[in-house]
Amino acid sequence: MKFLHSNETKVLLVLACVLGVLELGARVFEGKLSKDVNHIRSFPSVAATLKAAPKERLKVLIIGNSLSRDGLDKKLLKTELAKLSGREVELAAMHPDASNISQWYYGYRRYFDQTDSIPDLIFLGTGRSHLLDAPAESDRLSAFYVSLSDLPQLLKEQAGDVEAISKAILARTSLLFAHRARVQPLLFYNLVPGYTETTQTIAVRREPLKVEAESALVPASEHCVTFEELLKTVHAKKSQVMVVAIPMTEPYVLPPCVLESARKENAPVLDAGAAMRFDASHFPDGYHLDASGAAEFTEKLLEVISKNPDLMQALSK
């Protein structure tokens, strides 16, 4: 008890209490942090709805990030797919902000594959680099995307990186820690004058410098191991995947390893990054397609589907 009367113990207890209260707050009010958090937290119910849908319905899942969220016209897709397949369509989506293949792989496994909420068709929307293997944010993955059974695999992937492993474990344990990075943008984008413009300017300037530095140091090597694993996971449950390269302001082609993996796993690819050019006016924020661009692009996607026998078979079976 003498220990409890020490002033420094009281200081630490106050600190622990404040953190405890904030942890509680993070658990209760996390939905108010952003639309994205709400979207992530809706995955279990999205998967449950997909699972509960009658078998005769065509179950379609869109996986991607904000490029897919804004680049595909869901209403049009649903209507036209129904026409093409002659079945009612149950359309679900998993497109959290700033996500890539790591989030999609673990997220699909956790919320859909491991709960047996299996779609008939998956549209995997991507930009040029989202399907490439890249160092993942272990904390974000661990907190929101990786199931408990996949957690050892995630930790193993960190290859002994104490920093990444510690963050993954902390984020799994504490929602306050997992959401810590959301507070700063929430505050600064709303309250600091010129912040949005400044971050964009700096990001634009940093990108070529970063690419230049990376290309000077490391020979370009692109791998798609996680993408292949995702395709295998999906195909193991007899679902069909279509890779959809979403148009961006600058034309791009998908990396060779993506095309090769897709070919190996028999996944059709709409490589529209180079084929479809949209005027800059279709990208109001300089990154995402606007509604009319999304509709135009979705029509193109539907046209490709209608000409692909494998996909048409997936739609009709």
């Binding site: 002033n7 009281k10 200081v11 404040v18 953190l19 104490v162 820690f177 507070v183 010129g194």
Partner: protein
């Protein structure tokens, strides 16, 4: 293994766990093993270098102590200085001077292309070399007894909290602590260590890294695209980046050492509250400035040889102090400007012991304002990649004072991240006590720690930056 990484704190927890169960000899061996492991995490290949430096100076110390004639003592201290500086010179400066020499030859047409020599810079080489030199010089001067335990001496050189970025501790302060039982981590030590660690982490993670982002923009952009206000705010950002970075590292070093029972030298005392260049150097990187004063400035003659020699000694000391920071002319010039400033300040009678109590508040404020801005201007040279960049940025200061988005953001973020800390420092400054917070009611401390921890949790930098002084 950075102080602001989870890896370091896991390592430190393990070190403390084992350390607290050992007796003195075991503690020293354990700390030595931990320190070598810590250093090996940066680059294990340089473990042999630190071992060589340790063995060389340990041997030189024994020889100095055993020598009966002054001539022999001089030889061995000279041997220690020459070899240690040679090693430092090879790793830190050889590439730079080779390139500069070949560029000079090229300008005479005697060489077609300049030579480029890339040598890896061992982490903290400037720090452990200066540790070692302080020992042999102190033994030579009979300021410290010779160390006859290799383990204790090796631990003095490689003690992990201060190994890669200081503070540069004197043999007179640290070496005696290696040979006697250290005090246990009682409540007082725990309190002092906690204060140093939390404030140090805040300075690094919140202040330095968030300012790095703004400063980096100014120093990577084309100066012609920047307005004067943007440059000024960018330079302020760098001033607080380098302060937060280095003072933060030093504070964490002192805090962790304190928990282990060691007392390290305080390295920073609110430097941006200085009111003269002399005052600044009594507050900034104190372990280096006092090292240079005691081992360079005073042996050169200090202020004992009349005005001209004093100014010469000041210039030489500061030029070498600048070069200590890195192999680039910008560092040398940075040191030169500080030397010149100190000399001018001395020449106009700035060092006269006038009581600050007699000076009015406005005079002190004006002195502070001038000192702070001159320090910031020298940071411009320090941070710039080249003189032309420094000059171009300097010229931009006088033009285009527009209220741009970057200026608005910078001012807001500097206010948000720095102002509360400066208010706290102003309170410390007023009380003239670094540890004032430990002498007030515990709930004030609790309030400050809650603020610091929440800031660290919620406001990490967009891009974490490595410790700047690690490169020195």
């Amino acid at each position: 293994m950075w102080f602001n990484s989870f890896g370091f704190w896991l390592f430190f927890a393990l070190v403390v766990l084992v350390y607290s169960r050992l007796r003195l000899a075991g503690q020293n061996r354990w700390l030595l093993a931990a320190s070598y492991f810590f250093y090996g995490c940066f680059d294990w290949r340089f473990l042999s270098l630190i071992f060589f430096c340790t063995a060389l100076n340990f041997h030189a110390g024994l020889k100095i102590a055993a020598a009966e004639e002054e001539r022999q003592r001089k030889f061995w201290v000279g041997w220690s200085i020459v070899i240690s500086l040679f090693v430092l010179g090879v790793f830190k400066y050889l590439g730079f001077f080779t390139h500069e020499l070949s560029a000079l030859l090229q300008s005479f047409g005697w060489l077609e292309t300049p030579w480029v020599l890339h040598l890896m810079l061992p982490a903290g080489i400037s720090f452990f070399t200066f540790h070692a030199l302080s020992y042999t010089i102190d033994v030579y001067r009979r300021d410290t007894p010779v160390s006859r335990s290799f383990v204790e001496f090796a631990l003095f050189i490689s003690f992990f909290p201060q190994l890669v970025a200081g503070p540069i501790n004197r043999s007179t302060l640290l070496l005696p602590q290696m040979g006697k039982a250290r005090p246990p981590c009682d409540e007082k030590r725990f309190r002092e260590g906690l204060y140093a660690v939390i404030t140090g982490l805040f300075l690094k993670v919140v202040v330095a890294d968030n300012m790095a982002w703004l400063a980096g923009h100014i120093f990577s952009a084309d100066p012609q695209n920047l307005g004067g206000l943007e440059v000024l705010l960018g330079v302020y950002a760098f001033a607080f980046q380098i302060y937060g970075d280095f003072a933060g590292y030093s504070a964490i070093a002192c805090g962790t050492a304190c928990w282990l029972g060691f007392d390290l030298m305080v390295n920073f005392k609110r430097p941006y509250f200085a009111i003269s260049p002399q005052d600044f150097w009594q507050r900034w990187h104190i372990s280096l400035s006092t090292w240079l004063r005691d081992y360079l400035y005073i042996p050169l003659g200090g202020n004992r040889g009349g005005s001209f020699l004093t100014y010469r000694n000041l210039m030489l000391t500061m030029l070498l102090g600048g070069l200590w920071h890195g192999a680039a002319w910008t560092f040398v010039v940075w040191g030169g400007i500080h030397g010149l400033w100190l000399a001018v300040h001395r020449a106009i009678g700035g060092t006269a012991k006038r009581s600050s109590k007699t000076a009015s508040g406005w005079v002190i404020f004006l002195k502070w304002l001038v000192t702070f801005h001159l320090v910031c201007l020298t940071w411009l040279v320090f941070r710039a990649e080249t003189f032309s960049q420094a000059w171009a940025l300097f010229l931009r200061l006088g033009t285009d004072w527009h209220w741009t988005a970057f200026a608005q953001t910078s001012l807001s973020l500097i206010g948000f991240f720095i102002l509360p800390w400066l208010l706290f420092e102003a309170w410390l400054e007023r009380r003239k006590d670094d540890l004032s917070l430990l002498h007030v009611s515990w709930y004030w401390r609790a309030a400050l720690y809650v603020y610091l921890v929440l800031m660290m949790l919620f406001f990490p930098p967009p891009v974490p930056a490595e410790f700047i002084y690690f490169r020195f």
